[in-house]
Point group: C2
Chain length 457, copies 2
């Protein structure tokens, strides 16, 4: 039933074009004004004595400073601001079967940092603070379905990480539930098939990061019970299915575990609190916390005004990237089975030192000219058109990042591509990737974004 | 070959009684004097301004203070000293095949905190500092085999946690390698079969904690390729084998993952640095850091003198427990398959909030009379003799803990034992437990100690 949802765009309620028009219309209907204001003018936000920015309530998130020591790469010591949000958030998608096809209840949601206003979002994005308010009538829409979900209604339920370079050990509960009861359709919500959502991911910045991470956990082979399902698959989809079913990988999972254990043991990552106002590479000015060399990102303060049926206004800090990012998986058929070239990558906010990242994950622009230029960048950027399986711009979380988008690429290696591996890289089948994915904190969010994009139709 | 090693005590080199005599003899030959001295008199150790105890070199470990906030149980806020040792240590066992049987190279190792001096230890216990000295000739015995191990020589390689109540996020690399080359047998080392080591675990405080954690990762069913191997197994061993092979568990692993995701999302664990000398429940006196109510543990300083071929002397702090501990698994045949009653337990030093702990893991003594008395304690302590599968005292790491031993119990539930589960408890087959065990930080060290004890003969 998930497989039927995955392999169809036939939607009883809305065809794909309707959905695209709906998002466009929502963007027209909702007026959003995001104005950069002095950091100290943000209502309800305060600078503490260390230059840390936090909400007066003590809730939501804060911008803290950290000092990082590691022996991972050329840069062994630095300081930076980072988003601290210790609560585990809920990212939930509610599903329901209609006529044998599973539909996903998706929301047209506006976030102040979104490059284009409204994006397709999960049914629910809620923090634990929201969760605890479930009984006072101000709780988020549909929260009660998730809070009261019975074990047999749960399709997927994983704790997964956010961007390790920007968030300090942040995790969300990624959950998909399937209910039988009637579900009231609220104005900002529509039912979509999984196939439709996959198709919408071919558009730039249409499907938000939260949707992509939740859907990344769905392993296709868990839902293919009959081979005749594969008739609707593309050749590529069938190849992916094989990669997620087969035991024929060039390395055993035990070897991957040993490789990762060795790397996690080898590299130190020591992260300690450090006052932002004492960092020599970062300056706090009236409008931003930024680096004079304009690298990485800056922290800005915004006043947000959203006018729809009613006017809502608030202030919050956002992280604005200084460069676009690039996330690319190189995949290659080895002995007839697609393998993904996976990298074990350290980021300072990682929960567990290293996570499994795409083959290439880096900033663009001046990075390419520097000694920090990562492996495989040239290969990915010089891929021939017939090697490019996917190429879009995808947004990061617009509730925390200001107009951040990363190029998401999936590249098929040519016949001459070497199977030899640098130390932090390995080849995994989809089946092996999903073995790691179901446990916490193995696949990073950039990996998961690319996995979610894989299209079987 | 591992299975043959597991199911035999026939050792070409040393029979089991010889090994016991050898350990006794080592204890006689080696004179160890551990003298409690004033904390400030410990050579090369200093108190810093916060009351933190650390080595002058900045290496080894330190005793730090932490402040803990959680909503896990009745006690929601406390402060305590804790051992900080951010480096990943090596716990390694070297193995080699002789006449088709795998032998494990074990060490008779003395530690100042050992209740009985010498215990059977892995081939190698080394820190990263040791590792980095590999080329200066002062490296630990046999280190080079582990540092240079080729992937095909690695039998097991896992990153596993230490005691979460005593160590702040400490982990070790648990590794077993198999070599073909000749291995020089040094005086403190002997070759043992896995079956012998299992038998020696039936003695109190004979096999040290480090050995137990490394061996816990060996999953019996991975090494049973032919059913005729099972002839040498006990009935109970065959039942355990079934539990580690079967798909017939009452809950699916996806349900366990969702259960654990829910619990990890539900409970907050916020651990922050806090000066020991400002804690109201802990006092620093001349000889110890302890609680006036004499609960939990105290930090003491010792001067150690070991006289064998030469005299070695040094000072170090140790943690001395104020009560013995109890670790017990309740197991039960459900639909003909043994299931283990697993608990998700929070400890403040845990790497990831909750780890999978034995059914009962607690301090003994006055705890039983308090409101903190854990579930299932009475059941375990009142088990009839025919329900007791294992009952020994096992030591904690004598390099950090002073004469600490915990009672390790495995109890078979009677027919009337309810299958109903309190929220933080679940039933798992051995196969499911090992699925979690091979990934980092799922099974806590008390669980792993009990798993290592399971005897198939």
């Amino acid at each position: 039933m998930i497989i039927r949802s995955l392999l169809t765009e036939d939607n009883t309620f809305n065809n794909t074009e309707d959905i695209i028009q709906w998002i466009k219309q929502r963007n027209k209907d909702i007026e959003i004004c995001v104005e950069k204001i002095p950091l100290k003018s943000m209502d309800k936000w305060i600078f503490d004595e260390d230059g840390c920015l936090r909400h007066k309530s003590g809730k939501f998130y804060s911008i803290k400073g950290i000092d990082v020591n590691t022996d991972y790469e050329k840069i062994v010591h630095w300081q930076q601001p980072i988003i601290s949000q210790p609560e585990v958030g809920f990212l939930g998608i509610l599903t329901k079967e209609f006529d044998g096809v599973l539909y996903f209840l998706m929301q047209a949601k506006i976030e102040p940092g979104n490059i284009n206003g409204v994006q397709i979002s999960p049914t629910l994005q809620a923090t634990k603070s929201n969760y605890n308010r479930v009984h006072d009538g101000k709780s988020p829409n549909y929260l009660e379905y998730f809070v009261n979900a019975k074990p047999q209604e749960i399709i997927l339920d994983q704790l997964q990480s956010e961007q390790g370079a920007r968030f300090l050990r942040k995790r969300n509960r990624n959950i998909i539930i399937k209910v039988n009861e009637n579900v009231k359709l609220l104005p900002d919500f529509k039912w979509m098939t999984l196939g439709q959502i996959k198709t919408l991911m071919n558009y730039d910045n249409m499907v938000n990061m939260d949707t992509r991470t939740v859907l990344s956990g769905l392993k296709i082979s868990d839902f293919v019970s009959q081979l005749d399902n594969t008739e609707k698959m593309s050749c590529f989809g069938r190849d992916l299915l094989l990669s997620s079913l087969t035991d024929h990988s060039i390395f055993r999972t035990a070897k991957h575990l040993s490789w990762l254990t060795g790397l996690k043991s080898k590299y130190d990552l020591i992260v300690e609190p450090f006052p932002i106002n004492k960092m020599k590479d970062w300056k706090i000015s009236e409008y931003e916390i930024s680096r004079p060399d304009e690298k990485y990102f800056k922290v800005i303060g915004v006043n947000v005004k959203i006018a729809n049926r009613e006017v809502t206004t608030w202030c919050q800090p956002l992280l604005q990237p200084m460069q676009q990012g690039l996330c690319a998986y190189i995949i290659k058929k080895i002995n007839g089975v697609y393998h993904f070239l996976v990298q074990a990558k350290m980021e300072c906010g990682n929960f567990d030192v290293l996570e499994l990242a795409p083959t290439v994950q880096c900033l663009t622009g001046n990075v390419y000219a520097s000694e920090l230029k990562p492996l495989f960048v040239d290969y990915v950027l010089n891929a021939k058109p017939n090697q490019i399986i996917h190429d879009t711009l995808q947004s990061e979380e617009g509730g925390r990042f200001y107009k951040e988008q990363n190029r998401n690429l999936i590249i098929e290696a040519d016949d001459n591509f070497s199977l030899d591996l640098p130390p932090r890289y390995t080849w995994m089948t989809l089946r092996q990737i999903y073995k790691f994915l179901r446990f916490n904190n193995y696949l990073n969010i950039q990996s998961r974004s690319l996995l979610s994009i894989l299209n079987y139709m």
